[in-house]
Amino acid sequence: MQPLAGYVFLGTAMFVLGVFTMVTRKNAIYVLMGAELILNAAALNFVAFARYMGNRLDGQMFAIFIIILAAAEAAVALGIVLQIHHHFPSIDVSKPDRLGD
């Protein structure tokens, strides 16, 4: 059986790349993609650990819930992006840097 460490490494790499994307890119769509990467990293870890602790179902359940929440998040976040685009001429996330009134 493939060692657990491989999956953990993959998850870590996805997480780190997701954070990197979120931090470096100005475009809001990129930020959302980074978030998706991070969520997938977490879900992958769940499933891998569940597999390696006796084929348990809990990990998969949590992964399913993560996917559900990610879908909801993506929908709401894109709505917000549209609003930003409408409000500012661009979707640069460094533009909205103060609270509105």
Binding site: V8, V23, I29, L57, A75, L78
Partner: protein
């Protein structure tokens, strides 16, 4: 076989993620993300989570990615120009956790978690379905998730609606 699928799909995932992070063009990144997500779905299959892999393909690859591409079409074109100054600090904070995790993954993990091999995994669709509808397992989170989705639906419609100009 399992080893092959891990290396193949793991490679897809890693390369896809790297491209997402580094591609200068948005459209390229979005398709790289598709690659990474398909890789994750393959990993799920390799881990015996057949239902989950299907969901991953359907929801992520089929749904969320389409959403992104739709979003991309609404935004102006433009490419990211990398510079050393903008990469330095993010690079440092990305590399440090990576090193720590690598260290943990190779050295400490086996001593913390004793893997239990329970044989070849069985198909999980039946078990997951029963788990969702069992009051003592996941019925309430399941119902709550439907509520969350409904709220997200209404909320995103409200947000995306074109406001009447004042």
């Amino acid at each position: 076989m399992e080893s092959f699928s891990f290396w193949f799909f793991g490679g897809c995932t890693l390369i896809g993620s790297l491209l997402v992070a580094l591609c200068p063009k948005l459209v390229h990144s979005a398709f790289s993300l598709v690659l990474a997500l398909i890789g994750v779905a393959g990993l799920y299959w390799g881990l015996g989570a057949d239902f989950l892999g299907g969901v991953q393909l359907l929801v992520y690859v089929g749904g969320i990615t389409i959403l992104f591409i739709y979003g991309i079409m609404l935004t102006p074109k433009g490419a990211t120009k990398w510079s050393l100054g903008s990469l330095l600090f993010p690079g440092v904070i990305a590399v440090v956790p990576l090193c720590v995790m690598l260290h943990l993954a190779w050295k400490g993990l086996e001593s913390v978690i004793k893997p239990v091999d329970a044989g070849v995994p069985q198909p999980t669709v039946d078990a997951i379905g029963r788990g969702f509808l069992n009051r003592e397992e996941y019925l309430i989170p399941f119902e709550l998730a439907s509520l969350v989705l409904l709220a997200a639906l209404v909320g995103s419609v409200y947000l995306a609606r074109r406001k009447k100009e004042s």
